[in-house]
């Protein structure tokens, strides 16, 4: 079976500013693939171009070199005006900032995608309500984003993407800005939701523990220009208990191996 998402020799450099040296490559010769139903984590130091990589896959930014195949077909473009963010709803993107619409309540934020896709019916409403309950947001449906805590906003942003069920979901350090305890809870929520549907997920993080706790496989990005420095299969069986991940057999050894690769 061919992989669902394939990145081939991807390169990115930002346009040179007038009168300056051409800017350096942020990503170069970056290749990897993701199988259907796989939870892939990508670890890299700050400034390794992790967000840039996801922006290019989600088509909110162009690639300067290389190719991206989605379901075996090329979706690459070099023309910023030809970009199709989310490429026809096949790629969901949970960004680092929650980017909730401040004028919409929790439920209306969750229903937004269904609304604009013309998929709003009783079944999809029930699904949204189920997701809201699954992440503990029941009772907060009519709250506006500014009335929610940081963790609640993250959960809202997460289920806003899960609710319309895109085949691939990209996640850009979605839990980086919350405290450690909330983060563990959010990771557990995410794993529970993922076990329910087994979506294909590409999850970017700078936190090695998070990469091990969530992923089937972890890729390590090098410093700029970024490429894949190493690849590790996570030997910890599922379902995993995120809170006790340190104690599980295989964790320590994997952690050491990945840490040695992260520069």
């Amino acid at each position: 079976m061919s992989p669902l998402l394939e990145i081939k020799k991807l390169g990115k450099r930002f346009p040179a500013r007038h009168g300056r040296e051409p800017s350096p490559w942020v990503l170069q010769d970056l290749s990897f693939s993701v199988a259907e139903g796989e939870f892939l984590t990508i670890v890299g130091p700050s400034g390794a171009g992790k967000s840039t990589l996801l922006n290019i896959i989600a088509q909110t930014d162009t690639a300067s070199a290389g190719e991206i195949l989605l379901g075996g077909a090329s979706v690459t473009t070099r023309d910023p005006r030809a970009l199709k963010p989310g490429i026809e709803r096949r790629i969901g993107y949970v960004t680092q900032d929650d980017n909730l619409l401040p004028w919409r309540s929790t439920i209306d934020n969750v229903l937004f995608a269904l609304e604009v896709q013309g998929k709003l019916d009783d079944a999809s409403r029930a699904r949204a309500e189920k997701l809201i309950q699954a992440v503990g947001l029941a009772g907060f449906e009519t709250y506006y984003p500014h009335e929610l805590s940081g963790g609640m906003r993250k959960r809202t942003a997460l289920i806003r993407t899960l609710v319309y069920d895109p085949p691939i979901i990209l996640m850009d350090e979605p839990f980086a800005a919350v405290d450690a305890q909330t983060r563990t809870q959010l990771q557990a929520d995410l794993l529970r939701l993922w076990e329910m549907g087994r979506k294909t997920i590409v999850f970017v993080t700078h936190d090695i523990t998070e990469a091990i706790a969530l992923g089937d496989r972890a890729l390590v990005l090098s410093k700029q220009p970024s490429r894949i420095a190493a690849e590790h299969t996570i030997p910890i069986p599922r379902p995993r208990n995120v809170k006790d991940i340190f104690a599980l057999p295989g964790f320590a050894a994997t952690y050491e191996k990945i840490r040695a690769d992260v520069q």
Binding site: D97, L101, Y144, Y164
Partner: protein, 270 residues
């Protein structure tokens, strides 16, 4: 639920305090006015008491309200005709910055031009009826609201647009569900400034040539050396502006429920 409608005791106390202060300032203004009347004589400055009596009389006879109604209709119609395209144009031109750039010098010119100076011209073109007043209000309202909306559209968070596009929003959805709600605070800021100017523009156009409206009452009072009549008409125009601002405040409160509440003592009437 956080109940924003029930103010906490300190807020209520500070509100009562504000009302008391309003009364105090009102009393000072009346005192100064009375002083001016006493100093210059009622021939030049009508007394607060005479103005109050005339106000009640002309309201009771329906005359004042009829004139106020004309002025209000002109201002409302002009605000609508000028305001709607002023809101729509920046929204529609969001994806066409080149067109905005081409229009810009002309819009800046229109914004800066002393529109009230067009009043005689509009009267020549459209006659002394309602049309010339509406035309003046349109020119006053349009440019203010256009630039306010344009600022709101420009300040739009591009990440919200991208997020919406990823979630499957078409250009139409983006305009209606992202750009418009994001620009609402700026649009309101524009109307808050434009509406009082619009009412003033209607009054001034009536001053120049009309046979009805508050401006006509001012002009008529001045010609007959009836300062009481002038004061009554100006007072009525002020009340119209106050009423318009109250309506806009109520609308804004409703439309902008989603914003974090501001401190109550920072809220002002204008």
């Amino acid at each position: 639920m956080i109940d924003a409608t029930a103010p906490s005791p300190p807020v209520r106390a500070s509100r009562r305090r504000t009302h008391l202060d309003h009364l105090l300032v009102f009393a000072i203004i009346i005192a100064l006015w009375s002083l001016a009347t006493w100093h210059f004589g009622t021939y030049w400055v009508s007394s607060p008491w005479a103005v109050a009596i005339r106000f009640v009389e002309t309201v009771a006879s329906g005359e004042l309200l009829r004139h106020a109604g004309y002025t209000l209709s002109e201002a409302a119609l002009g605000t609508l005709i000028g305001g709607v395209p002023a809101v729509l144009l920046p929204l529609l031109l969001r994806r066409h910055p080149v067109v905005v750039a081409i229009l810009d010098p002309f819009m800046v010119g229109g914004y800066g031009a002393p529109k009230l100076a067009f009043a005689p011209l509009f009267i020549v073109w459209f006659g002394i009826g309602m049309e010339s007043k509406v035309a003046l209000v349109v020119t006053v309202v349009f440019f203010i609201v256009y630039f306010a909306t344009l600022n709101g559209v420009r300040a739009l968070d591009a990440r919200l647009v991208q997020t919406a596009q990823i979630l499957g929003a078409s250009e139409r959805h983006v305009a209606r569900s992202i750009v418009l709600p994001a620009a609402i605070p700026s649009i309101f800021a524009g109307f808050r400034i434009a509406v009082p100017y619009g009412i003033a523009a209607a009054v001034i156009a009536e001053l120049i040539s009309a046979n009805r409206g508050l401006g006509y009452l001012v002009q008529n009072g001045a010609m007959n050396f009836d300062t009481t009549g002038v004061f009554v008409a100006v007072l009525m125009a002020t009340l119209l502006v106050q009423a318009a601002i109250s309506i806009m405040n109520a609308m804004e409160k409703r439309l902008l429920r989603w914003r974090p509440p501001s401190e109550p003592w920072l809220e002002t009437g204008t």
